[in-house]
């Protein structure tokens, strides 16, 4: 063995290299304050390792980016841990960078003759942030998509060449395949390669000039290995444990709903360390945005660049310390403002909650479908009643109707509803409430309609009068009959949620059907029911079923439904406000399918 190593040494001189690498002089002994550079190097090594394995499973295109990250995160064994480490190590690198920077300034390690090395360090800082920014888009989820759009739109504000630069970065006028391939090439190719070069230069210059000791020296001098290395290793272990705790606490890195260009995500935010810049943008109006995006950050960065030169001035070091803490305070205050603003913003919180729901729903659908169609995960969401129903309801129905008291998406209507609440429409509960003299005139049913508030000189509708006058005086026997009729009408809807009841109560429902056909309680005076002819009120045949709702929505003023008594309900089929597909999604959601 020794002979082999001797041979290798004579050909390479590796022993000398190892010796110079390890047996660096540490004046004043090993100290905790020297660990930050090592922890950063370690963090970058971890990012290279985890990044490489993620790379092996990632596919950068508009139809596969989210999908492949979902596959890594939620299907591949260990994938959530791998992606979690990569994500949270990137988060942890930012405070490590700040600590490293503070130590360098406070201990005067930026001053002559170490100016160039300090600039290398600043270059590494910028590279790290650039890698974070490009990585944020790669999962192609709503958050990354919309917040990166802000960043690329800022590029177009660069004087003269902004538009061209933006197009080069995005790969086209709009986001698409080439945005991902370009960002990915930067994130996993050019930027890490530059980083390696700068780290080599950074460490080589660090060795050339030696460590800047913190004075006064507390202990006698030590060697880099093993004394400082041991301290560094403990610090790296602490970083590892911190990252693993974060991964565990947050159950891995979040993957939002797939990017959807037609659905602006109002909770789009950059990663937390960019929130201060994000906040800064809010202070400038119109085309002044360049102050927040370029001039102020550029000025601060220029001050940092100049620190070694300013440090030669008599009170330069104190000035630099002031700049350092002022910059940190600015960073902290702006970040805090941004986060408290969001925490108090109900629209933001609603959008976040909606994003979580969509993300979970997409994953559920992918699982139920045993995979994602070639069109991508968005196609799953677009064809999903549970996702699209509430949105369609909010945009098309909620100007008059409520759903369980809200607009379908959880928000309140700006004005009181003028039409019934449609949650559970066609169910026994809903019909029972409708027939209740105490409820029919509430906003939940006809309270906001012309049936209760007729034009001056006209009477309330016959149905409302029947409920208020007759039903209120029903005998016990008549009430029992009504209950059977309700069961029979409700069974027409064939609601999935009521299937068990409909099967259990076949006898009851059959009795109800007979009562309807026998014109008991006068229902079929006005309402048609299968073979029993009715009058001018809506048809009970198939009431609340898919077919009934589809026809009703197409034309509620048809003779089969309200006829000329229709109160403001639009004919969605005739105005083509909704496509057949949208109608179907809305109906399936209303019916709880």
């Amino acid at each position: 063995m020794k002979a082999l190593l001797d041979w290798f040494d004579s050909r390479t001189g590796y022993r000398k290299l190892v010796k110079t690498a390890l047996f660096e002089h540490v004046p004043g002994g090993a100290r905790w304050r020297y660990v930050w550079g090592s922890t950063l190097t370690f963090a970058i090594v971890v990012q290279f390792i985890t990044g490489f394995f993620l790379w092996m499973n990632y596919s950068p295109s508009a139809q596969t980016a989210w999908e492949s990250v979902h596959y890594i995160n939620d299907v591949m064994p260990g994938g959530w841990l791998l992606r979690g480490i990569h994500h949270f190590m990137a988060q942890v690198m930012v405070p490590l960078l700040v600590l490293h920077f503070m130590q360098v300034i406070i201990d005067r390690a930026y001053q002559a003759p170490r100016e160039v090395n300090y600039w290398f360090g600043l270059g590494l800082l910028v590279l790290t942030l650039a890698i974070s920014l490009t990585g944020y888009l790669l999962p192609w989820d709503q958050r990354g998509y919309w917040s990166t759009k802000v960043a690329t739109n800022l590029i177009s504000g660069v004087p003269l060449i902004g538009d061209q630069m933006q197009r080069l970065v995005v790969g086209d006028a709009n986001y698409g395949h080439h945005t991902l391939t370009r960002f990915f090439a930067m994130h996993a190719g050019l930027l890490p390669a530059l980083m390696v070069l700068l780290i080599i230069g950074h460490v080589a210059l660090f060795r050339k000039h030696g460590l800047t000791p913190k004075l006064p020296k507390k202990k006698k001098d030590a060697m880099f290995f093993p004394d400082q290395v041991l301290v560094d290793a403990v610090a790296c272990l602490a970083v590892t444990v911190a990252v693993l705790c974060l991964v565990w606490w947050f159950r891995g890195a979040e993957l939002g709903a797939p990017a959807n260009p037609s659905e602006p995500f109002s909770a789009a935010r950059p990663d937390w360390y960019f929130m201060s810049l994000f906040q800064l943008l809010k202070f400038f109006q119109g085309e002044n945005v360049i102050w927040g995006s370029l001039i102020i950050p550029g000025f601060v960065f220029a001050l940092l660049m100049l620190m070694p030169l300013l440090g030669r001035w008599k009170i330069g070091h104190r000035f630099n310390l002031f700049v350092l803490f002022a910059a940190l305070a600015g960073f902290g205050v702006l970040t805090a403002i941004a986060f408290t603003h969001d925490a108090r913003d109900t629209h933001y919180r609603t959008a976040v909650a909606q994003g979580h729901r969509d993300a979970e729903r997409t994953k559920q659908l992918a699982k139920a479908n045993q995979g994602i169609p070639t069109e991508g995960a968005l196609a799953l969401l677009r064809g999903d009643p549970l996702t699209q129903g509430p949105r369609l309801f909010a945009s098309q129905c909620a100007s008059c109707h409520t759903y369980d008291g809200h607009d379908g998406l959880g928000a309140q209507l700006p004005e009181p509803p003028t039409a019934p609440d449609l949650a559970g429409f066609g169910s026994r509960d809903w019909l029972r409430g409708f027939m209740d003299p105490a409820q029919i005139e509430t906003p939940k049913f006809f309270g906001g309609t012309a049936f209760v508030h007729p034009k001056p000189g006209e009477k309330k509708s016959r149905m409302v009068r029947l409920i208020l006058d007759d039903v209120a005086k029903y005998s016990a026997e008549e009430k029992a009959q009504l209950e059977k009729i309700i069961a029979a009408i409700s069974a027409e809807a064939k609601l999935p949620a009521q299937k068990a009841h409909d099967v259990r109560d076949t006898v009851l429902i059959e009795e109800g059907r007979k009562l309807l056909a026998d014109v008991t309680l006068d229902c079929t005076d006005c309402h048609k029911f299968h073979d029993t002819a009715g009058g001018k009120a809506p048809d009970f045949t198939g009431y609340g079923s898919r077919e009934w709702l589809a026809e009703f929505l197409k034309n509620p003023g048809h003779e089969r439904f309200y006829g000329k008594h229709n109160d403001r309900m639009p004919a969605f089929g005739q105005t083509s406000r909704l496509t057949a597909r949208e109608l179907d999604l809305l109906i399936r959601w209303l019916r709880g399918e």
């Binding site: 022993r15 660096e24 490489f52 492949s68 780290i199 080589a204 004394d227 560094d232 272990l237």
Partner: protein, 194 residues
């Protein structure tokens, strides 16, 4: 030029240092601790990565899929072997494909109710074999493996075995169904690919 190491941390596997002076247990323990702690730190991302890397080894083996290629009356009795493309529903990682091309099969009707099916992938190294009508044999243009009309090796041949037959079922409606499978290339035995 004093040093060119590009990493002062223990994260890139530092080679053993020169042996510590005898009796210097403290120094030795320190060095050992450096390696142990550094090792743990680097092991965490490596273990996570390798777990994901070996995922494909842990997926359950696929057991071929039955697919209808044609109807009996589409195959002429006594005709030459005909090549049929095979499309099956397939899940590729996250994507669920509708009908996706997975390979090709030679079908030949030997008797009224008897159809023979050969995998078109050469058992040598997986190129696609073709039927040469004038020589009445199968031929692989990659490495010149030749197979007789009944699929046997024509020696000398680079292939270790004859063409792979596939299970065939004739359904009541005349549908010709084949159990499409891939087999391991380059070996004598016909082993389904997991």
């Amino acid at each position: 030029m004093r040093a060119m190491s590009n990493d002062p941390s223990p994260s890139q596997g530092i080679p053993a240092p020169a042996p510590a002076p005898e009796g210097d247990r403290r120094e030795f323990l320190k060095s050992a601790a450096c390696f142990a702690l550094g090792g743990v730190c680097v092991l965490v991302p490596v273990v996570a990565g390798v777990t994901v890397l070996i995922g494909p080894l842990r997926r359950p083996a696929a057991d071929g899929s039955w697919v209808e290629l044609t109807k009996l009356d589409g195959l002429k009795l006594g005709g030459a072997p005909r090549l049929f493309q095979v499309f099956v529903e397939r899940t590729d990682a996250w994507t669920r494909h509708g009908r996706n091309a997975v390979g090709a099969v030679f079908l030949e009707r030997l008797a009224e109710n008897h159809v023979r099916a050969f995998q078109a992938a050469c058992p040598h190294l997986g190129c696609a074999v073709e039927w040469r009508g004038e020589e009445k044999h199968f031929f692989c243009p990659c490495h010149n493996s030749a197979f007789s009309h009944d699929g046997a090796i024509i020696n000398p041949s680079p292939s270790a075995r004859g063409l792979d037959t596939l299970e065939v079922a004739i359904h009541g409606d005349g549908g010709v169904w084949v159990k499409f499978q891939d087999f391991k290339a380059g070996v004598k035995q016909k082993l389904p690919v997991a």
